[in-house]
């Protein structure tokens, strides 16, 4: 009798165990490719989907059906935050009707909440264009900030999926060790770039430039969010003629035409830098993305 009931219990519990292991993988929805890549590193067995690629402007994304379907099933949504996704994320959240990812108390994670953003604005006026009032949200190209974000994201994963906490802790330890070993190498590569001046499109590389000591002396956008106009390009040409600018820089999702026009007339190299993982052939994860960025910047003669 006794043995029998134990056997029965074991049989009854078995399917529960199977469902538990089958459900164990965290379903992650990342707004940008850099956070999909980070999530993959921190949770190798998770099911991860990126809403955008490095070729797509994350300020302007269509809240399309596939994104609603993916968010509906997500346990965790990872985004840059600081209102970068303001034009599409709230709409997706409402349409997906997934209460698990509606607030940062639960399965919603904003990278910008974990670190100090640069260029916060005290007041915003419409005449300023599509500015980032909560500070620049393109913060994944600062190695130190990225490490802080990784730690917070790993903690969020453990909070949502405590059963697999040892896996997340192990992955974070691995990542941190490799990342910290890389930082001195990148510092070495940034040495020759310190003090260099560039003209770039938007404030996309603000954190990279800040970290490497590069100065962006002008923006191809006349105002944030607006494409280069001919009068603005003419003023940039005047600026470039001072002779101290190293290169004109655009991100992988930005239109090259304005930069090329300026580059040709000012005799400056035009660099198309990967904005995220997948932004060029070399950028397969965050490590190779940084490697590629420094290689391209150092390749300017």
């Amino acid at each position: 009798m006794r043995i029998n009931s134990k056997l029965l219990l074991a049989v009854a519990v078995m399917p529960l165990l199977f469902t538990a292991t089958a459900k164990a993988e965290l379903n992650v929805f990342a707004c940008e490719a850099e956070y999909a890549s980070l999530a993959k590193t921190l949770a190798p067995s998770a099911d991860i989907y990126s809403a955008t690629t490095a070729m797509q402007d994350p300020h302007q994304v269509q809240a399309r059906p596939s994104l609603i379907a993916k968010m509906r099933q997500a346990d965790l949504v990872v985004c840059a935050g600081a209102d970068l996704e303001i034009g599409w994320l709230p709409m997706l959240q409402m349409k997906a009707s997934n209460p698990k990812v509606k607030s940062t108390d639960e399965g919603l994670f904003f990278a910008a909440d974990q670190v100090e953003t640069l260029d916060k604005l005290a007041s915003v006026e419409r005449s300023m264009g599509d500015v980032h009032a909560k500070g620049n949200p393109h913060l994944h190209l600062d190695p130190e900030r990225m490490l802080t974000i990784a730690q917070a994201l790993s903690a969020k994963m453990i909070e949502l999926d405590p059963q697999n906490s040892s896996e997340y802790q192990q992955s974070l330890a691995d990542f941190s060790q490799r990342w910290q070993a890389k930082i001195p190498q990148w510092q070495e590569q940034a040495k020759g770039l310190a003090g260099k001046k560039v003209i770039a499109y938007h404030s996309s590389f603000r954190y990279l430039f800040n970290w490497a000591g590069i100065e962006q002396v002008a923006d191809l956008e006349p105002k944030p969010g607006l494409a280069p106009t001919s009068s603005h390009l003419a003023s940039l040409l005047t600026r470039a003629e001072q002779g101290d600018v190293m290169a004109v820089i655009v991100a992988s999702y930005q239109d090259e035409r304005g930069a090329k026009w300026l580059g040709e007339r000012a005799n400056l190299p035009v660099l198309m830098l990967p904005m995220s993982v997948g932004g060029n052939d070399q950028s397969k994860d965050l490590f190779s993305l940084y490697d590629s960025l420094f290689a391209l910047l150092n390749g300017v003669k």
Partner: protein, 332 residues
């Protein structure tokens, strides 16, 4: 049957002269999102049932307030100031609350809101690519159908997007003509059921298909009144939120296909969309009507209205982000 006779207008240009919005991902009652849109337009050609004249004009001014009331509810109020035919009117188009925390893909909305039927109807007019709604919308839904009611929606947990919804509305603006003002209309007159599916094709394209059904308990026009209806409607060129053609059953099939190079919508993108409307059971006998065999009109079950449109919009933005140059290639 009466198919809508529409003319083809080749080019329509629309550009918002000014728009202003203050939004935050963490809106609250003390810090609501505010958006205002001033809609200036330039229109070429004249269109049937149109409320806008040729040339430059000011369309709608929209002011919207929205906020998360708490973790469980979202609320929105939208008022629209419209100028048409030299008159200005103020309409409350939205005033609703929606649930944010119902489990399993469910959500409910109550108050005044835009019905989710069709493709364009739930979109605000200022986001339209064209200065006016397609004729089918103007004829069957009074431009866009918003009303007082409730909605229950469900999104399935599938990789292919699949949503279903049911709505119940007062239906006042979709009531059949009531010449003598003595008709006894149902207070909850409109019920809808709708479903949409959609997904991606590679990185660059996405699509959505929708089917909607609208039951209008007050949509049947009584036989006596229908004879001069068509003439009346054909001349109508004034601003109205009421449907010009009504019926008991409305079926809508819609599709949209969007494309952008690399899936990057910032610089250029293409939207193809189309909808087909079929309105049936348009004429009926007044309750208590006794067929004395002397009436010279016949009521046929085959009576229906239909309307459809196809539109393609190519947006490119060297200098204007929203919509500066729009090409209408087919609009029938």
């Amino acid at each position: 049957m009466s198919a809508l006779n529409t003319r083809v207008s080749l080019l329509a240009l629309a550009c918002a002269f000014s728009s202003y919005s203050v939004m935050a991902e963490d809106s609250s009652l003390t810090n609501p999102n505010i958006s205002a849109v001033l809609d200036g337009y330039y229109q070429t050609g004249d269109r049937p049932l149109a409320e806008r004249e040729e040339g430059f004009g000011l369309g709608e001014t929209e002011l919207a307030l929205s906020a998360n009331i708490d973790d469980n509810f979202y609320g929105k109020i939208t008022t629209v100031i419209e100028s048409a035919d030299g008159e200005t009117e103020l309409n409350l188009e939205e005033a609703f609350i929606q649930t944010l925390a119902l489990p399993s893909g469910l959500s409910a909305r109550a108050g005044r809101f835009l019905s989710d039927i069709g493709y364009l109807n739930n979109q605000h007019k200022h986001t339209d690519s064209f200065t006016e709604r397609p004729a089918a919308y103007r004829a069957f839904l009074g431009n866009h159908y918003y009303d007082d009611g409730i909605r229950l929606s469900y999104v399935a947990p599938t990789d292919l997007y699949w949503t279903m919804g049911v709505e119940a509305f007062s239906g006042d603006s979709l009531r059949a003509a009531d010449e003598h003002g003595d008709r006894d209309f149902d207070d909850v007159g409109v019920f809808t059921a709708l479903t949409k599916i959609g997904g991606d094709i590679g990185v660059e394209s996405s699509w959505q298909l929708g089917l909607s059904y609208l039951r209008n308990e007050n949509g049947l026009a009584y036989a006596e009144e229908h004879e001069d209806e068509e003439e009346e409607v054909a001349d109508e060129h004034e601003h109205s939120h009421s449907a010009s053609y009504t019926g008991e059953n409305t079926y809508i099939a819609d599709f949209v296909y969007k494309w952008a190079p690399n899936g990057n919508y910032k610089y250029q993108n293409l939207t193809l969309s189309g909808e087909y409307f079929r309105v049936t059971d348009i004429f009926g006998e007044e309750p208590g009507h006794i067929d004395d065999g002397l009436d010279d009109h016949e009521i046929s079950d085959d009576d229906y209205h239909e309307g459809w449109y196809l539109s393609s919009v190519y947006q490119f933005s060297p200098s204007c982000i929203r919509r500066c140059a729009l090409w209408r290639s087919g609009y029938l």
